[in-house]
């Protein structure tokens, strides 16, 4: 039977008012919430009530001058080594993508060596560099040299750790940078070249800024990892945060509280890095999505302003508050 044409379009909308449906009850989630909360409370309770944690000692050493000095050294080391790693990584990645086989090959060799040996072993090597080369001189290879330096005075404890961690990091960063570069569409390079830009301009202005979106998250990973890897300085007897704590507890045997102190500091610095990464990611996300969500700061500011200056918004809020008034 053929329908009369009018039947295809409902004559009257069945319900014009807003839908107020009863939400699905998630009983499983309630159970899970109770279980998780119970576990959390018992953990916190045991940590607070177990006297072996010695929270008093933790509080005493948290801002001890040796510890805070260690924090400063750790930050300096991590920043310098990560910066060295990023600079080397960009250089190695660009070399790796070079059409010249000698250049790309030497980059490959570097990466192969530094990723293939433990960073702990590399650190120890740098600390014994004085045994391998007594003096280090700058000059023309196989020709005259201009500057002579004693290895042991040039490669200080800081330099040992910086070189050990930075050169190793360069190998890992180069793979991250290379992944970023090859993630950018070839059409971008073609468009830039067709406009008369040189290869270097194309890389710097067009390819790298877009590659950053892929490069930043794993680099944040690397930076956080670097922060904690500086604790390997312990094996070359260079004093940063962890070594400072170890030095203290090997005298007073307050091992657990000092390890807690160290953990609190690493967690605090890592949290700061999270914030940094969030804003750097936003910067390089320009043009990628139609509108970026507001930052926490913008959200607070907008909330304050709309409440104060926007009577319509206030009215709307008031209406929602009393739906049946």
């Amino acid at each position: 039977m053929a329908l009369p044409p009018g039947d295809l379009i409902a004559a009257e909308p069945p319900a014009a008012e807003e839908i107020q449906a009863v939400p699905v009850r998630h009983y499983g989630r309630w159970v899970a919430t109770v279980v998780v909360a119970a576990i959390a409370v018992s953990i916190v309770h045991s940590m607070a009530s177990n006297p072996n944690f010695q929270w008093g000692v933790v509080r005493h050493y948290l801002f001890d001058s040796r510890i805070t000095a260690g924090v400063v050294v750790t930050i300096e080391l991590a920043v310098a080594a990560q910066a060295l790693g990023i600079a080397l990584g960009i250089l190695l990645a660009v070399m790796r993508l070079s059409p010249n086989p000698l250049i790309s090959g030497s980059s490959w060799l570097y990466i192969w060596f530094f990723r293939g040996t433990p960073v702990l072993v590399q650190l120890l090597f740098w600390s014994f560099i004085g045994a391998l080369y007594r003096t280090i001189s700058l000059g023309i290879p196989f020709g005259p040299s201009f500057i002579h330096l004693n290895s042991n005075s040039l490669i200080t404890g800081f330099m040992t750790v910086l070189l050990g961690l930075g050169l190793n990091e360069g190998a890992y960063m180069s793979e991250i940078v290379r992944a970023g570069i090859i993630s950018v569409d070839d059409g971008q390079t073609e468009a830039a070249l067709s406009l008369g830009m040189t290869r270097l301009q194309t890389m710097r202005r067009i390819v790298l800024p877009q590659a950053m979106r892929v490069i930043i998250p794993p680099t944040g990973n690397e930076a956080i990892s670097m922060l904690k890897t500086t604790s390997l300085a312990l094996v070359v007897a260079f004093t940063e945060l962890t070594t400072a704590a170890v030095n203290i507890y090997s005298n007073n045997f307050e091992t657990i509280p000092l390890l807690i102190v160290v953990s609190i500091w690493y967690l605090a610095i890592t949290s700061v890095l999270y914030v940094g990464q969030y804003y750097i990611e936003r910067h390089y996300a320009r043009g990628s999505s139609r509108e970026l969500p507001p930052t926490p700061l913008q959200r607070v500011r907008r909330g304050v302003f709309s409440a104060r200056h926007d009577p319509v918004a206030m009215g709307a809020v008031a209406d929602v508050a009393r739906p049946h008034a």
């Binding site: 569409d185 059409g187 971008q188 073609e190 468009a191 830039a192 070249l193 067709s194 406009l195 008369g196 830009m197 040189t198 290869r199 301009q201 202005r205 067009i206 800024p209 877009q210 390089y284 320009r286 043009g287 990628s288 999505s289 139609r290």
Partner: protein
């Protein structure tokens, strides 16, 4: 007689063992519009890309404005040009791509001023003024601060045309500029291209838009399997093709 803007003499191009161009010879005069049509894989896009040396040719000679493309001839030997000189010559040839290839991290305005600022060191204020003019000419004066992701395909392609024009090119190459667009948006882009043709720009357009070829082109070239099968006045070729291959192709697309 004045020198043609583009002159190709027996241009060959191989990718590995695959012959993509097998002896292309043609001339495009100053202010002329040439449309190149043909089935996909016929080598028409590859030929377009050889003109600004995005692809290097294996045999033959290619001249733009009387100057050899990509090489310097000295005592009967060809010398490759250094990157800088290739870049300088490319700056005088605008190119528009099928997939737009706008820089997604820059606004429309930044896309257009990028090359004048970087390549020609044009002062910022002047570059912005010229870019604003160009974007107004392609009908996008209200989209200066929009990122490509906020624009429709047709708008993106018009920004791409403005970006190429910002370098004040003497020749414009269009590689299927409307093939990636919704049918509704094709017209806006073709209008801009017609305007350019009227203003006397020398253009080579690889296209499937037969209507545009018929009314805007001075010459029509039909390519297949790396050779020019037929060339001539567009109305003539489209209405009365001489070759079987041309007839077969046109019967499918018209």
């Amino acid at each position: 007689m004045t020198e043609p803007m583009v002159k190709a003499e027996g241009v060959h191009k191989r990718f590995g063992r695959l012959e993509v161009l097998c002896g292309i010879s043609l001339e495009v005069g100053r202010g002329e519009v040439m449309c190149i049509i043909g089935p996909s894989g016929s080598g028409k896009s590859t030929f377009l890309r050889t003109i600004n040396h995005l692809e290097r040719i294996n045999r033959g000679r290619l001249y733009v404005d009387g100057v050899l493309v990509g090489y310097r001839e000295h005592r009967g030997k060809l010398h490759e040009l250094p990157d800088g000189e290739v870049a300088t010559r490319r700056a005088e040839i605008g190119m528009v791509f099928q997939r737009f290839n706008l820089f997604p991290h820059m606004t429309s305005l930044e896309n257009v001023i990028e090359a004048p600022r970087q390549v020609r060191n044009v002062p910022k204020a002047q570059a912005i003024a010229e870019a604003t003019d160009l974007l107004t000419r392609v009908g996008l004066s209200d989209k200066l601060d929009s990122y490509p992701s906020q624009l429709s395909g047709g708008q993106q392609q018009r920004v791409a045309i403005a970006r190429a024009l910002a370098m004040k090119p003497k020749l414009m190459l269009f590689d299927e500029p409307t093939s990636a667009l919704d049918p509704e948006l094709v017209g806006d882009v073709l209008d801009v291209m017609r305007g350019l043709a009227r203003d006397g720009m020398t253009m080579i357009v690889v296209t499937h838009e037969m209507g545009f070829a018929r009314e805007a082109a001075d010459k029509l070239v039909f390519m297949d399997a790396g050779v020019i099968v037929e060339a001539g006045d567009p109305r003539e070729v489209l209405a009365n093709p001489q070759h079987e291959r041309t007839k077969a192709f046109l019967s499918k697309v018209l």
